[in-house]
Amino acid sequence: MKKKNLPLKEIFLEDERFRISYYFSLEKLILSLQEVGLLNPPLVALRDKRFILVSGWKRVLACIKLGLSSLPVFVIEEKAELKTFLAAFYENLATREFSLLEKAEILSRLKRFGEDEKKIVQHYLPLLDIPSTLSNLESYLAFSQLESEVKRIIHQKNMSFSSVKIFSGFTPQERKSLLPLLLPSGQNKMKEILEDLKEISRRNDIPVKKILSSKETLDIMGSEKLSPLQKTDKMRLILMKKRDPALSSRKESFDSLLKKLRLPKNIMVKPSPFFEEENFLVNFSFGNHKELKTILVKLQELAAKQEFAGIFKFK
């Protein structure tokens, strides 16, 4: 490997064959370059008489942003693509964690450059902290094929493996129409939405796009009154009702009974989780002796009400 100073314009950045990182912010690196300069030169390789970048995309893009005209680089003399890529891989492996999408890109490059599939599963997956199964490799390879718009959201929302796996199982059109729903959600809500969609679709043999193009969905998504987060929450509820109709209906009946009982705000009656146990929970709060006495009287009155016995039907 030779070190040399290379004019930036001589690096052919359109060739991304070794690139594994796409979504990053340059701010801190620019600051570091301004303060101490480039300490770790990027790796380049000569292909078809042009220098292409093997490792150090962030560094090179930051240098461009800073308006530098040249930078020190290491030139890898290796001609084999796999060996060249491995230089970049191991350089990064030693110094940082890879994101889910970076792992997907690494595995797709290994495959593309001819690494043996069995070796990828047994050797590289554990290095990337992925359980070594062929099915995991296939999942990551599928992730690397996703549309760049979708990849950006996956990165931005730091989506989990299981969510991305479900997402990658949808069609490109379905993924596109889901993006506005997923953008305002946190990881858990996102996973819930994706899981419910997948499971309703599989159980009822309805394509996801059909669920997403139902009238109620279109009404919610097209509403001008609702904020993006409200739209997502409404959709979540609709999907929950479709996914678990009996449980949702039981919850609704229980809530409607409580409404009829007109409980004071500081008394709450709750069923057991999913109505699985036969007990109910009463929560109340008080600040002094007098309030406690009032609550106890209220509870006695409540227990005497005929409608209250209705809650025992929910056992």
Partner: protein, 367 residues
Amino acid sequence: MSKSQYFPKKVYVEKRSLDFPLTKRILKNVGPVPREIIDDPQEVIEDIKASKDVMGAGKKYLLITRQRGEFVKPCPCTPRYLGCNYFIINIDLNCPLDCTYCILQHYLTNPLITVHVNREDLWRQLDILLHRKRHRTVRIGTGELGDSLALDHLTENSIDLVSYFRKKRNVIFELKTKTVNIKNILRIEPAPNVVVAWSLNSLRIAKEEEKGAPSVEERIEAARRVSERGFRTGFHFDPIIHHPDWEEGYEEVIKILLKTVDSARIAWISLGSFRFPASLKAIIEERFPKTKIIYDEFIKGKDGKLRYFKPFRLELYKKIVGFIREWGGKEIPLYFCMESEGIWREAMGWIPKGEENLEAYLSSPLG
């Protein structure tokens, strides 16, 4: 996997297991199947793990090794539901059948069909357990981490186990299977404390979700022959699966069962609705992409497992209990596997006073 007897593509024998009599017996019974002596099974296991369908690939190979841990363990019943005080014997691990819902897909880290051949250690551990529990009648069986009879033509386990247990007084031994591999059973003398049991399901579920298993009618026919030979039989409707036309489906099987097998010689019938750890769902989706059984309405139970929403479970149980009673099984002891007291009371009309009470109910004087 064909519905005929299981023969592996290859047998791996761990070097240190080579001299056990059971190893020699298996190698003789397995016939002209390639075999390889290995130092460390882990290498083979790692190799299999590089397959796309690890569980499916593992089922093609038989590993002969030693049990280094305990052969006998209390059944890992689910916390916060009523258990039945059962003990399990882990002689064989894994099963050549490939049921969609099988918990072993989630539970086993070794995907190979594995036989533990250090039989002397098993007898010693059983002697200790039965001595320790000498004031009780212990229920014990081999069908938890594998099918009790699926490998019987190779291991002849049934002959050894029945011969051991027939001499013991304070134990009821159960062989639990979905197969019709009963040749050895029919050759041996019945013992009053041995129950040969079959897992049953609706014809549709058996056909769609129990890959490699004989049909329900074939299983019931095998049960009839075993019953007529003089053994007591048991049946397990577990997992009961909520599916289109489930009522007709389960009634049909119960009718066939009670018309075919002498109900007076049925030791018990257990009922358990489909339940599974959440992490099994992804495995099932991956291995059985066409199945719909995991998309029903499940809730997270008190033990953290997914199970049907309670009103569904109650409906399933009440109907099935009703069918059993209606079609001639009035006197057969019924029990639930891993259910709550509320379900017992509503569907069965009584609640066992703890695990030992249930154990006594199921160990009542042998027929």
